[in-house]
Symmetry: C2
């Protein structure tokens, strides 16, 4: 039921995924009367509708929705994972509600204080993962340490980096630079078992020198949206520039294609969904604007997570961490 | 003595400025034996060398430099403003040291807890000002309120906006979205006399819908450097794309020009210096990479500030603010 084009885009994406992945079974959770018209009499053995009477609106307050809508499609989907009937949740719905409900129903992995959203970014070299992309707006140093460990597992298992390089987003490369949160986190990361390369600056994000970019969810979300907006603004500025130059049209088309492709690449949620790491289960958050292709890709990411046993890998990595309380006392 | 190309670039920029602005007098502060070779026997009635025996290195710790180098060129320059012999300081040196020394020597304006750096950004419409660009990494809500007021004065006096629209950088447009700092600041701004339009997101920065973008110095600095790095990365990605396509070369050149011009426009310190607002005097911070043109432009900005009496305008605006203590108790 979630996303700007639900349930049509979701249903279409599910059919694409069923065709592409032969070992996939999909439980479509939501209001059957809203979903069925889009099935268009298609049938699939590996598709089942699980009724849920309520829908969380895209702009609804997450905690309020969690309390007041016990039969929402989001809640029901997580219940299916909790009971073992499903192995992953994919949603393009209200992402705050997905995070809150996932945390409430599935619970956190041992060693995780706050689950975080991981987002894959294109760089001039290979893809990198930024964590947290927006789940936690106010963080402590030990949260960022946990994000770093989860990001490293993601980079190993999903991006296939053998020894992922981890960077801490700050405003200067020296360890003494940054705000209080970053300075304290720098100390924790320096004495961790991670391949920590130190602080990186905003200008380094797209240089591809690190595999994992660690930041709090406020800064991470601002960075993502700024990148998206800047790509759009550059296109508008170029359009302005070529308006009077006929000869430059071809150039504009090229530039527009490059920027457009960057914009799509940057929005990982449109490409494959952004995983919520640190909860007891696989959760993939799609973009609210998800079309059928985006839904299909998010389902593919969910399959990858299940097959790579990413949650088990996360557990192993996090089990080796000092407990948050001992980290706090070390500060 | 400050900047990567000092003193040569500074001296050349000063001569350009002296030629351009007939009512300008420049006091060049630094080591005469280092400066004189670059004068190349040129003379100017409106140019004077003021000796300072010490130099703050670009990577030196600001507070340490302030304590251990009482005869640094930065310190001496501020002393000249303090004593009334000069009306503005322009420096491309260690910006942390410029901020710390400016604060120490000149003091803060009444109503200002923390001076902040304002940076002008290009947008798809008109230029906007982002404040704070990096002077304050850990902020309280009343600091951001003061930044907003200072940014509005800047937008009125320097960008000629009659009723500047002020936006608060957050991760959602609704007032309830953001971290604790932003949520509390939103309340202060909502009840202020400013033309406050509410939260804006990272993607809105370059859309030009607001004239003043308010954020803490950590987030502001990350945004600036991310923008710079993204423009570079996009260029690299496009270069990759056209490598195999001869027909696309022309397009690449256009795109490269547009991105390069954006990169220069984004770095206001290269264009006209970034003012430090909230100290008792005019302080313009140039980029460490400043060439002669950048120095000339920073001097022009200093002249604009003096002629527009921006410091007096700031004092008037800030005098009407509730005191920080009463703001704090309101939270």
């Amino acid at each position: 039921m979630g996303g700007d084009f639900a349930p049509q885009a979701v249903v279409e994406g599910v059919f694409e995924a069923l065709e592409a992945f032969s070992d996939l079974t999909v439980l479509l959770v939501g209001q059957p009367e809203k979903i069925k018209p889009f099935l268009k009499r298609r049938r699939a053995k590996r598709l089942e509708i699980v009724p849920a009477s309520q829908v969380v609106a895209m702009d609804e307050a997450p905690i309020g929705a969690l309390r007041s809508k016990p039969d929402s499609s989001i809640r029901k989907a997580f219940d299916l994972v909790k009971s073992g009937e499903a192995q992953a949740v994919v949603s393009a719905g209200n992402s705050g509600a997905v995070v809150a409900t996932g945390l409430f129903v599935l619970g956190r992995l041992a060693g995780v204080s706050r689950p975080a959203i991981a987002t894959v970014l294109p760089t001039v070299k290979e893809n990198a993962v930024l964590i947290d992309a927006g789940a936690n707006v106010d963080c402590k140093p030990h949260h960022l340490l946990q994000f770093a460990h989860m990001g490293a597992v993601f980079a190993r298992e999903i991006l296939s980096r053998s020894d992922p390089k981890v960077g801490l987003l700050s405003i200067g490369e020296e360890g003494g630079k940054g705000n209080t949160l970053v300075k304290r986190t720098h100390k924790l990361l320096s004495s961790s078992a991670l391949n920590y390369v130190g602080n990186i600056e905003g200008r380094d994000i797209y240089r591809g020198e690190v595999d994992v970019i660690v930041c709090d969810g406020f800064v991470g979300n601002v960075c993502l949206k700024l990148s998206e907006g800047l790509a759009e603004a550059l296109m508008a500025m170029m359009l302005e520039e070529v308006r009077c130059k006929r000869s430059a049209r071809l150039g504009f088309i090229l530039a527009r294609n490059a920027l457009g492709s960057f914009k799509r690449r940057i929005d990982w949620r449109e490409r494959g969904g952004a995983p919520l790491l640190g909860v007891e289960g696989v959760v993939i958050i799609g973009h609210g604007r998800s079309d059928a292709r985006a839904i299909r890709n998010a389902i593919r990411t969910a399959c990858d997570f299940v097959q790579q046993e990413v949650v088990s890998r996360l557990k192993e990595a996090l089990a080796q961490l000092p407990s948050p309380s001992s980290v706090v006392s070390e500060r």
